[in-house]
């Protein structure tokens, strides 16, 4: 009698082949067009920031798992994605200590203290970014960051310019073509609008990002900024400037749909995307900050569990008890 040792487990015995590693790898692949453009545009310092950000993010996670005696989990690439996204939101001239503190805040404070992957109530990269922006705003001022660069286009950060001078004064400075093709001053990975759109569409088509959130987000930006713009075109910029500058597109395709901090049901996803965009526009147009993307999405992360309670009734629930 041959008695093989068989694998025994429970149904289902098939899997669609997806994994955390694959999902995170695809997120990073989708970010590549914008990243490569940023490296070309801003040169070696940008490479330095991204490399440091990615590696320290993974290192922080590894250190936390080591200290807390947990199984090492950096191979799922989740912290690599956090590091990459944080790096993409920094200017190329960000000092090394800022990057390391940023990844510490993002990975340790944003993710690991809540229990690691899947347990974070906020987008970790945004937590890091928000604290950096509140603490060292001068290092994140894009106009100041690139004074030693010589660009062939308007070397003004569009949103800061709108905030300072009003929409009328800057209306001739930024064309749609320039903004789409990355001819604007901004963070390493967020200036190349076309690249971000390509990456986002790739993620949506491959099913790694739920289409509802980016679509509702973009509709929200266009709708809210149009309302402001129609009310006072001299003061408030057109939807075009708001959509293609700052962190808007990066937020729509990469930050807002972060799995753990966004809803999963359809109507909540639409509400989430639309309201996050609405908050951003309120901050940009009425609030104190140039770009409210970071705080706008974080605010909606807070209410995510509440919105996600809007869900369809389960099969057979509440029937047949009569």
């Amino acid at each position: 009698m041959n008695n093989n040792k068989l694998i025994v487990s429970h149904a289902p015995f098939w899997h669609d082949g997806d994994s955390l590693f694959k999902t995170n790898l695809n997120l990073m692949i989708a970010a590549l067009p914008a990243v490569i453009f940023g490296l070309v545009q801003f040169g070696a310092p940008a490479l330095g920031v991204l490399a440091l950000s990615l590696s320290t993010a993974m290192a922080w996670e590894f250190i936390v798992t080591l200290v807390s005696g947990k199984k090492a989990s950096i191979h799922d690439l989740d912290s690599a994605v956090i590091g990459l996204f944080l790096g993409m939101m920094l200017p190329a001239t960000a000092p090394w200590w800022l990057v390391i503190i940023g990844t510490f805040l993002a990975v340790v404070l944003g993710k690991m203290i809540f229990g690691g992957i899947g347990a974070n109530p906020f987008n970790p990269a945004l937590i890091g970014m928000a604290i950096l922006a509140l603490s060292w705003a001068n290092h994140l001022d894009f106009d100041a960051a690139y004074v030693n660069y010589d660009f062939s286009f308007t070397a003004l950060a569009p949103l800061a310019a709108v905030k300072a001078k009003g929409a009328l004064a800057v209306s001739d400075l930024f064309s749609l073509n320039d903004l789409l093709m990355g001819k604007q001053v901004g963070a390493i990975g967020t200036t190349f609008g076309l690249g971000l759109i390509i990456g986002g569409v790739y993620l949506i088509l491959r099913g790694f990002v739920r289409w509802e959130i980016p679509v509702a987000f973009i509709i929200g930006i266009v709708f809210t900024s149009l309302c402001f713009n129609l009310a006072d075109p001299d003061k408030y910029a057109s939807p075009m400037i708001h959509l293609f500058s700052g962190y808007t597109l990066f937020g729509a395709f990469f930050l807002a749909p972060e799995n753990s901090s966004s809803p999963v049901n359809r109507i909540p996803m639409l509400i989430f995307g639309f309201c996050a965009a609405g908050m951003i526009m309120l901050m940009r147009n009425i609030g104190a900050y140039d770009d409210g993307t970071v705080l706008g999405i974080l605010l909606l992360n807070v209410v995510n569990p509440l919105i996600d309670a809007i869900r369809p009734k389960a099969l057979g629930k509440g029937v047949g008890h009569a």
Binding site: N3, K5, P12, D18, S19, G118, G316
Partner: protein, 423 residues
């Protein structure tokens, strides 16, 4: 194994398999010298059993452990009992297995045992429970369960299997006859029959209401058939039987008709066997045949760390031994190579929501699984619809974090049953 498509904007579509248009005769597996029978009745060491090691059994003879046992099995061969021992399944439930040996020279001349079948459900339940296809006679004979509709399933509920579709293509007359028998022996008047929408049935079916079922999983699972074709929503935690609906496989109906015609039981089970490369074979084997015999007949070699799955890839169970027998309800046997076994993990849920979008019962699986992982089964039932689950396994199939969600759900239901039983 069906992987996700490159583009995955919509949820995955897992299609049911269809048999070849004019199916060949299945390969018949000779009856082996040792047959293994499972008896869903645990052995009690303190009591003396009715059957003992060395006892002779007749072909078609009923075997029971104790005088008051409600469960029985029927020997498909004449021979002698070689072993009686305890078997435990994947949930730790214990039952008994018997090994019947045929080559001891004791059996010459004995034919099939003739049953004294009357036109009552009790009489059918007395002898025919273990017919191929496992007819639900116990349910039909239970005076506490009021069944008014029988749905005959010619559409296989799980993927890869084509056994029931084959029965429908080859034995539609038998199904008609079986419905006649059921009409005689039960008080059920409404008969429905599920047929896959792309199956060509030669003759018009006028003896039952026809449901043409979709080719996309999980359309053929009982709760989905109830919902789509009978316009009935199965209340959470109820079974179709509670609603007066009994599901019965095509094979069960055919073998019931044959049993009433010949007054003997048939023991030849039709199976779909799926090899490591995904090749599908159809065989007939006597109930009790160890699976090893069938696999050997097609030169399918099972090595260490392979997986042997009984039932379909979504709802079946895996066994730890190649000696597991063919049972009355074994429609499919799948051998998975060690390299094709998807890895599961202990990752926490990352809230990607794929399970929520794929769930046919609209359960918030992402939250449910957190409660189940924490062992909060009652909260899971009250707040997050644990009992609405129709057990299709799609959530675990798509899970990015590779959490064995379906296993958690079954465990949760199992624990709740235990809690209720203790209360």
């Amino acid at each position: 194994m069906i992987k996700r498509s490159f583009f995955a904007l919509t949820r995955p579509r897992l299609g049911y398999d269809t048999p070849e248009p004019d199916p060949k005769e299945p390969k018949a597996i000779p009856v082996p010298s040792n047959l293994i029978l499972l008896l869903h009745d645990p052995l009690d060491d303190a009591r003396e059993t009715l059957i003992k090691k060395g006892d002779k059994v007749e072909k078609g003879g009923k075997l029971r452990l104790y005088k008051d046992s409600k469960e029985y099995t029927v020997s498909p061969v004449a021979g002698a009992i070689k072993v009686i021992d305890t078997y435990s399944d994947d949930f730790g439930n214990t039952s008994t297995y018997l090994v019947i040996n045929t080559d001891q020279g004791l059996t010459a001349g004995t034919g099939d045992m003739k049953y004294d079948l009357k036109d009552t459900i009790a009489s059918a339940d007395e002898y025919l429970r273990t017919l191929p296809g496992a007819p639900p006679l116990k349910t039909l004979a239970d005076p506490d369960i009021k069944i008014d509709t029988i749905v005959i399933t010619c559409a296989d509920p799980d993927l890869l299997s084509t056994t029931q579709q084959y029965m429908a293509l080859k034995f539609m007359d038998g199904i008609k006859e079986g419905i006649g028998v059921l009409k005689r022996i039960t008080s059920v008047r409404k008969f429905c029959i599920t047929i896959p929408e792309n199956m060509n049935v030669k003759d018009e079916i006028d003896f039952a209401q026809v449901f043409r079922t979709s080719m996309i999983y999980p359309a053929n699972l009982p709760p989905m058939i109830l919902k789509e074709h009978l316009n009935m929503i199965l209340p959470a935690g109820k079974t179709p039987e509670d609603m007066g609906i009994c599901f019965m496989s095509a094979e069960a109906v055919v073998s019931l008709a044959q049993a009433y015609k010949t007054k003997t039981a048939c023991h030849e089970k039709v199976l779909t066997v799926i090899g490591k490369q995904g090749t599908s074979y159809r065989v007939t084997a006597s109930i009790g045949t160890p699976l090893r015999r069938i696999l050997n007949a097609f030169s399918i070699h099972v090595n260490d760390h392979d997986r042997l799955v009984i039932g379909g890839p979504m709802k079946g169970f895996s066994t730890y031994t190649v000696h597991h027998p063919v049972q009355p309800d074994t429609d499919t046997v799948i051998v998975q190579d060690r390299d094709n076994i998807p890895e599961l993990s202990d990752n926490p849920c990352v809230n990607c929501g794929k399970c929520v979008r794929v769930c046919p019962a609209h359960i918030p699986v992402n939250i449910l699984v957190r409660y189940l992982e924490a062992g909060l089964y009652e909260d899971a039932m009250d707040k997050y619809d644990l009992l609405s689950c129709i057990e299709c396994g799609l959530c675990a199939y798509v899970c990015t974090a590779r959490i064995p969600i379906y296993q958690y759900i079954r465990l949760g239901k199992h624990e709740l049953l235990k809690l209720n039983a203790d209360a």
